[in-house]
Each structure stands twice: as structure tokens, then as C-alpha cells.
């Protein structure tokens, strides 16, 4: 942006408008006049799915093709893309509210449990780079292109190349045949990292995904496993829910939440939060209990979205969205109670974003525990929205010289008052504290 102020002429600014427009035009061009090809939407959706997911999650709008477009327009900045998506969302009327779904309806593409070696329903690694060594792939470009074009993902380099195709979510219509059934795709074919049960051994290593032996294929994985919370409830190790039902969830996009907001408000605020801010609030919180929570489950999967048909009154599935879900457990003792049962924290967000879901579940655990006392609730409700914080940071780039003059004038007034008072003190009239108090300026 051009510096907007500082012109020496009263008509100053007439010549600034073109500058602002020129800046906007330049922003769309490649840096350094590069000659790279224009990014196509399918490239972005297929090859940068995590960025697309993050933009959608922080925008609170599920629209993969639009999100890819927004990412391209925002030059790859997920928050910038989220801002574009949110502004777009404002132009759309709200036509219906979907009916509640339970996460029992989740058709999982990933499901790992830290709490059990082998939970009912099994472990399903899904597409992840979690278990791949953090080595930069220095394969020559030509070779990489050849492999990407010709091979089906049974090479050592597969983790670097085979983690992007995500067509079943990012198809232009947001859905794709092979996720509509719980029997989806076969893990050992379309999951080149060979996800299956009991990969979560103590060594956790999974260095040779390409050595998965087809004849030694694991038992078919349960695509809709019972969620672990139900299992734990049946084992009687989980505290009963303390919050009442929330039949009319609070909507932070339509009402300004207050400190007495229900749990649905903070869950929604966190689901839409800037991932980095959310993570910091959880990770850096003074409210974190000693020890750490243990995720019973980290899941990815497709969740159906159903609305009531305006004519027939029946629930119709209009689309499916990919979500990350985490249920995490910790034993938090309260005064006068034994920590006999576990508390539950819940996290759910759009797209693949384990980091966000884990932070969210950890914070939910804390917020529930510190309900009604001084906890991190205000911070969660009012400081995590990425658009709010980047908006505030960006507004500092706007001219403030009217305010600045006012500030400087007060400083001079204080100094002048001191000088006068000092002169009076010399005549023995009055004593003035010599320390400078901080300004009472609130803005």
C-alpha cells in the first residue's frame, strides 16, 4: 500500500486514488515478474488440500472450489482467503438450518486413539504425514513429474507425492461417489501409507509404507466405529455431562456472545478460530492442568449435512463435509472430590486440521472445568477470531494523524504544566511528584 498521507498540498489525495488502485492491480501479479503458469483451481484443491481446509475452517464456509479461488486471490495466505470467503458469505441469504447430526454418523477416513492400543473398531491411520520422517524430498523435478504421472503410489517417495489427492472432498460439487458409502475406498489401495490396525505400536515407526504386503492385508476397518466416548461411558470411567442440553445452539455469527455464553458459543468460536491463535491459547494457557489430557480419539471423516425439505418436511442429505474430530480426556479434581472419573473435552472443525481439533478439545476441557470462575473464556470468545485480530493489526496501517496530534498535545500540556509547577516550587508554593504516570489513554 502506498503511504496514504503526507502530501504537501491541500488537494492532496486526488493523486492517491490511482496509487491505491495500481497497488491492487500489482498484487495480482507474480512477484519479480515471474513467468510461472497460473494456478488452476483443481491443482490447488488436489495438491494443497490442507491450505484449502484451513481457509474453509477459518471462514466457517464449506466450499472447496471457492476456497481454492480465494487462496489463489490471497496469494496463499489462508487467513486472507478466509476473509474473502467470509465477505462472500455475507452476500448469501441464509436459507435453512441443518438438522443436528451426531458424530456417530461420521464415516471415518482416519481414526486413531492414544488411549487404547486397540480400541473397538480398530486404529485407522488415514492420510497423514505424521509418521513420515521430516526429510525434505530432493527428488529431481523431472523424476518427480514422471512418478506423479505414471505411478500408483508404491514408491518410497509416495508420502511426498501421494498425500494430495482428495477428490472426494474437493470435487466441484463437494462430493464424490466413493465416499458415499461407509465401505468407501480400500485402505491399502488408496491409502499409500498402508493405514490399518495395529500400526500404532510402541515404536510408532512406519518407515516403509511401500512394503505393505497385499496378502497380509488387515481385516477390513470399521468405517463407522462406535465413538470411544460411548465405550468409556459403558466402562463407567467418564464423568457424566455437567452441561445441560443446548437445543438452540448459540450462534456467534448472529449474536455477540457475552461472558455467560453457553458451551455451544465457545465451541463455535473455536471451530472458526485462527488455528495459530487457538493453539497458543491452549498451549500457553496458565489454566492448563498439571499433566496433560489424552486424546481418546482423533478422527477425520465425512459428516452428512441434512436439511428439512420445505415441501415434504423430510430430512434430506444435501452434502457431506470433511471434519476433524477429537475427544480428549483428563482427570481434573475439584475441591472435595476424588478424581475418580475423567472429564471430556470436544473439538470439531472443518477439513483436516488435527492441530486445531486437539487445541479446541483441550480448551473445551479447561473451559468446562473452570465454568463460572475466572478462566480463559473471555479470551476464547473475544480474541481468537483471525479476522478480528488481523483486522486490528491491519487498521494500524491506516492514517491516525488526527488522533496522534491529540496525543502529542496532551504530552505537551503535561510537560508545560510541570514546567509551570516547577517554577512555582522554586517559589516554595507546591510540590509535584516527579515521576511520570502512564497515560490514561484508552484507545
Amino acid at each position: 500500500m502506498t503511504p496514504p498521507e503526507g502530501s504537501r498540498e491541500g488537494s492532496g489525495g486526488q493523486e492517491r486514488q490511482p496509487a491505491a488502485e495500481a497497488a491492487a492491480r500489482l498484487a495480482g501479479r507474480p512477484r519479480h515478474g515471474g513467468s510461472g503458469r497460473r494456478l488452476e483451481l483443481d491443482q490447488i484443491m488436489e495438491r494443497l488440500p490442507l491450505a484449502v481446509d484451513r481457509a474453509m475452517g477459518e471462514a466457517g464456509l464449506w466450499a472447496p472450489a471457492l476456497a481454492a479461488r480465494a487462496l489463489r486471490q490471497a496469494q496463499g495466505d489462508p487467513l486472507g482467503a478466509a476473509q474473502l470467503l467470509r465477505a462472500h458469505r455475507t452476500t448469501l441469504p441464509r436459507l435453512a438450518v441443518s438438522t443436528p447430526v451426531t458424530s456417530e454418523d461420521l464415516s471415518v477416513t482416519r481414526r486413531i486413539s492414544s488411549a487404547f492400543r486397540n480400541p473397538p473398531g480398530g486404529q485407522l491411520l488415514g492420510r497423514t504425514l505424521d509418521y513420515v520422517g521430516r526429510l525434505l524430498d530432493l527428488l529431481p523435478e523431472d523424476e518427480g513429474r514422471m512418478r506423479a504421472a505414471g505411478d500408483t503410489g508404491t514408491t518410497a517417495a509416495v508420502a511426498h507425492e501421494g498425500n494430495g489427492s482428495h477428490a472426494h472432498v474437493h470435487g466441484a460439487d463437494g462430493s464424490h461417489a466413493h465416499v458415499h458409502g461407509a465401505d468407501g475406498f480400500h485402505a491399502h489401495v488408496s491409502e499409500p501409507d498402508g493405514s490399518h490396525a495395529h500400526v500404532h505400536e510402541a515404536d510408532g515407526s512406519h518407515a516403509h509404507p511401500h512394503e505393505v504386503n497385499e496378502t497380509d492385508a488387515p481385516a477390513p476397518v470399521d468405517r463407522s466405529p462406535r465413538n470411544l466416548l460411548a465405550v468409556l461411558r459403558s466402562m463407567d470411567v467418564v464423568a457424566p455431562p455437567t452441561e445441560g442440553a443446548d437445543p438452540e445452539p448459540f450462534d456467534v455469527t448472529r449474536a455477540a456472545p457475552r461472558g455467560d455464553a453457553p458451551r455451544s458459543a465457545w465451541l463455535q468460536a473455536m471451530a472458526r478460530a485462527d488455528t495459530g491463535s487457538l493453539m497458543h491459547t491452549w498451549y500457553g494457557s496458565n489454566w492448563r492442568p498439571s499433566g496433560h489430557e489424552i486424546p481418546g480419539e482423533v478422527r477425520h471423516g465425512m459428516l452428512p449435512v441434512r436439511v428439512t425439505h420445505p415441501s415434504t418436511g423430510r430430512a434430506v442429505t444435501v452434502t457431506r463435509v470433511l471434519v476433524s474430530e477429537v475427544q480428549t480426556f483428563h482427570s481434573l479434581t475439584r475441591a472435595g472430590e476424588l478424581g475418580r472419573t475423567l472429564d471430556v473435552g470436544y473439538g470439531l472443525c472443518f477439513g483436516r486440521n488435527d492441530r486445531k481439533a486437539i487445541s479446541m478439545a483441550g480448551l473445551d476441557l479447561m473451559l468446562t472445568h473452570h465454568r463460572g470462575s475466572e478462566g480463559p473464556l473471555d479470551e476464547v470468545l473475544f480474541t481468537l477470531d483471525g479476522l478480528d485480530s488481523i483486522g486490528y493489526a491491519q487498521h494500524l496501517k491506516l492514517p491516525h494523524h488526527v488522533e496522534f496530534r491529540s496525543l502529542v498535545e496532551r504530552g505537551r500540556a503535561v510537560a508545560a504544566g510541570r514546567a509551570a509547577a516547577t517554577a512555582r516550587v522554586d517559589h516554595g508554593d507546591l510540590a509535584v511528584p516527579a515521576d511520570r504516570a502512564d497515560h490514561g489513554d484508552k484507545q
Binding site: P93, E403, S406
Partner: protein
């Protein structure tokens, strides 16, 4: 097409493609009406995301969009300038989407959206001033908890605010609040008038026009209807002080009748001063100004009686 029929039934007739749907505009108008009904009270509203960053006038933009129609004469200023980058951007957004008439003459505008300034030209009956507000809560620097702020407003318990002002005087000899000086509206609610300079604060008192203050990021709207008492918080023996620099005058129009801002000199030259209200500066320069301007003499008390050193009932 039954789909179209259903859409019509759900969303009303098709609207002009824009940046804001009609249902949302109605919500904003309802919030504005509540604000007018309870002067100075911060009305929470479901602030939408606008095509500008939150902090670049997203609240003001929503209020303006909810108010203007085709043919509305719209003036947009930032720091008093019509031609600033931000003002131009906001004006272009609204004009392109609604088709209202861009206007720079304060007297001719129906709606004036402004950041950080109230025009020098007093508002006339029927004019609406929309102020962009970064931080709407006057108690934000006094108490941290939002619930406590709400309680204080609800009970008109502004004791801590008075203590803060008193301490300010004890420590510094003057009240150091610069822009966004706290005011008492109609003897009831303490309000921050957005970061306007103290010079502009008296213009809110008993104004002919309606002032709407909108904070998009903070999701609150509040208002000062015409002919409302607006008193800056100060003590009986401490007159409210506006910005004043002895000997400073606008280098363009030669007066200090408007709010002037300092510009550092280049190459060792002394700093110079210039009126921040572009429309006023231009008319002043052209010698068009009548002597009726609402310009408080420096250091004067405003026309309003200063509030007593007790909180309002």
C-alpha cells in the same frame, strides 16, 4: 421451477447483487433504532464480515449500507479527508453496489461516514453521521471483565471512571485522555465517541443531526440522536480542554478555526499546520466561510454544563 419458488419464499424476492443481503440490513437498522431509543447504550448486533478488514470501517460500512439507497448523497472521510485511500475505497464500495451519489460538500450530504473526525460544518436536521469505532467500550481501560463493564453501565456506576480521571489530574496536572474522550450521554450512559479529537466532542452536544457509532469487530452499535445532551466527563474546577497549540494556524487557510494537524518540516524546516477537514479547508481557502461555525475557543468549556463530581443517578 419449484426451486425458485422455494427460494423466493425463504429469502424474499431477488435483490440487487451486493455485498450485504436485505435481511442483514434489517437487523442493522433494528440495532440502530435501539441505539437511538437508548442514547449512548451499546447495542450488541450480529456484525457481518464486509469486504474490508475488520478495523477498516466494517461497522460503519454496515450502518451506511443499511441506511443508503439509490440517490442518497454520500460523503466518506478519513481523518477529515475525502480523498484518502481508505475513504476512497469505502466510498467506491458503497457507490458501486448501491448506486448512491458521491458527495464531498458536507452541507449537501445526506449520510456522512467518517473515521476519527466530525466535520467542522455543523450537521443540519436530517443529516446522518456514521462514525467508525475501533473500541466502543469506555470502561475497557478501567476494568477488564466484560461482565463487570456491563454491570457498571447497567447501574450507572461510573465511580471507577471518575477515580481514574482524578488520579490522572493528581499525577499529571491535566486529564491526559486525548482522542476518544469519555462523555456522558443524556445524563445516563458513559460513551466513547470513537477516537475523535477533543476538539470535535462539543459538536455532539445538542446536534441537529443524528450520529451513529458502529464497531464491526466488537459487534456493537450506539447512537446520539439529535438534540441530546453530551457532556465530556470533567470536574467543576477543571474546564474541559480541547487541543490547542499557541500560535499554530493552518498554512492553507491561515486560521485555527478548524482542527489542525501538525506536519513535520523537511530538511530542518519548522513544522507546519494544516486543517484536517478537507472540505472546510477548501471553503476556508476560497473565502466562502460564514462566521457561524461551531468552533470552540481553545481551552473553553463547552456550552453544556460540566457534570458534577458524582456519578449520574
Amino acid at each position: 421451477m419449484s426451486t425458485t419458488r422455494n427460494l423466493d419464499r425463504l429469502a424474499g424476492p431477488e435483490q440487487r447483487a451486493g455485498i450485504f443481503d436485505e435481511l442483514s440490513k434489517r437487523e442493522i437498522r433494528r440495532a440502530i433504532l435501539s441505539g437511538v431509543a437508548i442514547p449512548g447504550y451499546q447495542v450488541p448486533f450480529g456484525s457481518r464480515e464486509m469486504p474490508v478488514a475488520r478495523g477498516w470501517g466494517s461497522g460503519g460500512l454496515q450502518a451506511t449500507l443499511a441506511l443508503v439507497g439509490e440517490g442518497t448523497r454520500l460523503k466518506v472521510i478519513d481523518q477529515g479527508e475525502d480523498a484518502g485511500v481508505n475513504a476512497s475505497n469505502l466510498r467506491r464500495l458503497v457507490v458501486d453496489h448501491v448506486g448512491c451519489v458521491p458527495e464531498t460538500d458536507t452541507r449537501a450530504a445526506d449520510v456522512i461516514q467518517s473515521r476519527h473526525r466530525i466535520p467542522e460544518q455543523p450537521l443540519a436536521q436530517g443529516q446522518v453521521l456514521v462514525l467508525q469505532v475501533p473500541g466502543p467500550e469506555p470502561l475497557a481501560g478501567i476494568v477488564k471483565e466484560m461482565d463487570e463493564q456491563r454491570r457498571m453501565h447497567a447501574e450507572a456506576d461510573y465511580a471507577k471512571m471518575w477515580v481514574r480521571l482524578y488520579e490522572d489530574i493528581v499525577h499529571n496536572g491535566v486529564i491526559t485522555a486525548s482522542a476518544g474522550y469519555p462523555v456522558l450521554v443524556e445524563g445516563r450512559y458513559v460513551m466513547t465517541p470513537s477516537p475523535i479529537p477533543r476538539w470535535d466532542v462539543p459538536k455532539l452536544h445538542d446536534s441537529e443531526g443524528l450520529t451513529i457509532l458502529a464497531a464491526g469487530r466488537e459487534k456493537r452499535i450506539f447512537a446520539v440522536p439529535p438534540h441530546t445532551r453530551v457532556e465530556p466527563l470533567t470536574f467543576e474546577d477543571r474546564p474541559f480542554e480541547v487541543e490547542f497549540t499557541p500560535g499554530a494556524a493552518c498554512r492553507m487557510c491561515g486560521t485555527a478555526r478548524g482542527y489542525i494537524v501538525e506536519e513535520p518540516g523537511e530538511g530542518g524546516a519548522p513544522p507546519s499546520w494544516v486543517c484536517s477537514d478537507a472540505d472546510f479547508r477548501q471553503r476556508c481557502h476560497a473565502g466562502e466561510l460564514g462566521p457561524v461555525l461551531n468552533t470552540p475557543a481553545a481551552g473553553s468549556t463547552p456550552a453544556a454544563p460540566a457534570p458534577k463530581e458524582t456519578s449520574a443517578r
